[in-house]
């Protein structure tokens, strides 16, 4: 056994040595003064570490403090950010509402005007088209609410920058 192997066997393979290896290490240490130093140093290190193993008690309110902070983090968590593509259904909804109103207005208006002419140009069956557009508008708004967390119909907090906090 060589002195260079002692550190490996003594330290890096702690607890994994078989009986033969352990016997060989002990024999070598008895004959070699530098390895005796190595073994004493290892023992000193282990003793110092054991001395330092005592740990004070944690503060009693520690758990509560962490839970309070975690609850605050949760409450201030960034809301679902509306990305640009999610605005498209909303814009289409608004256009749909506007166009439906336009169609209805032109339909009820006695005198021909530019709006009725536009609508006449595009559609023949105004009431049905208007109703269909209104239904489509509400369907788009409903899909927004359910799948994109947009806030047209519900009372969720707005995406006002003041309400956003980053962690």
């Amino acid at each position: 056994m060589h002195c260079k192997e002692i550190e490996t066997l003594l330290v890096l393979r702690r607890g994994t040595l078989d009986a033969n290896s352990l016997f060989a290490v002990k024999n070598h240490i008895e004959c070699c003064s530098s390895c005796q130093m190595e073994a004493r140093f290892e023992k000193l290190l282990a003793e110092v570490m054991v001395e330092n193993r005592d740990v004070p008690q944690l503060d009693k309110g520690f758990n509560q403090r962490v839970l309070t902070l975690a609850a605050e983090i949760q409450a201030q968590k960034k809301p679902a950010v509306r990305n640009n593509t999610a605005l498209i259904p909303l814009m289409l909804s608004c256009l749909g509402v506007a166009f439906s109103l336009l169609v209805l207005y032109s339909g009820f208006s006695d005198q021909p005007n530019i709006y009725s002419q536009i609508v006449d140009f595009f559609f023949s069956f105004k009431p049905f088209i208007a109703a269909g557009l209104l239904l489509l508008t509400f369907l788009i708004i409903y899909v927004n609410e359910q799948f994109f967390e947009n806030t047209v119909l519900t009372s969720r907090p707005s995406l006002n920058r003041r309400n956003r906090r980053n962690f």
Binding site: E7, V11, L12, R14, G15, T16, M37, R40, F41, L44, L45, A46, V48, M49, E51, N52, R53, V55, P56, L58, D59, F62, N63, R65, V66, L67, L69, A70, A71, I73, Q74, F167
Partner: protein
Amino acid sequence: MPAGKDTDFILIDKLQKGDLDALEQLMQLYRDDLFKLAYRYLGRREDAEEILQDTFLRAFQKIGTFQRKSSIGTWLYRICINLCITKKKSNQRTAQTISLTPDESTNSVAFEPAIKNAPDPAHFDLQKIMQHSIARLKPIEGMIVTLYYMQGYSCSEISEIVDKRINTVKTHLSRARQKLKIMVKPYELHIRE
């Protein structure tokens, strides 16, 4: 580290839903072990409590990024170890900037003056010298020494905890021991006794 795989999965699922009871359960399971590690490494109760708090809060915030490749305990240990190492580096930088003489309250690294000023080696405190020497090691070396000697983990367990190869862990441990030997060398006579 406590908790089996099934408990882990249930706990992780609850944490991902933001369940604070699950966070409390996690703290009950791992708080003491992590505090011991942080205290033994940093040497100060205030620092250790701060690190422990940050560990759990970070785990709560980042639970969505946990990939379940290891146990949640190992993951918590890694967070704690990284925070401890960052704190140690910050403490060492502060101590070097201010050039303090050895001061246990700040876990200072200015150790040499203590040896130079000690008139009689027989009056020194070998325990304190060893503690100061360990504090002077590189943060990762100090952490591995703490895990190996104080927490009692084997090299393979340490390699899993710190997420480094086992040979890297052994190299760090070997280098740390060499450095400690050099620092304690002036007091070799007392070690011979």
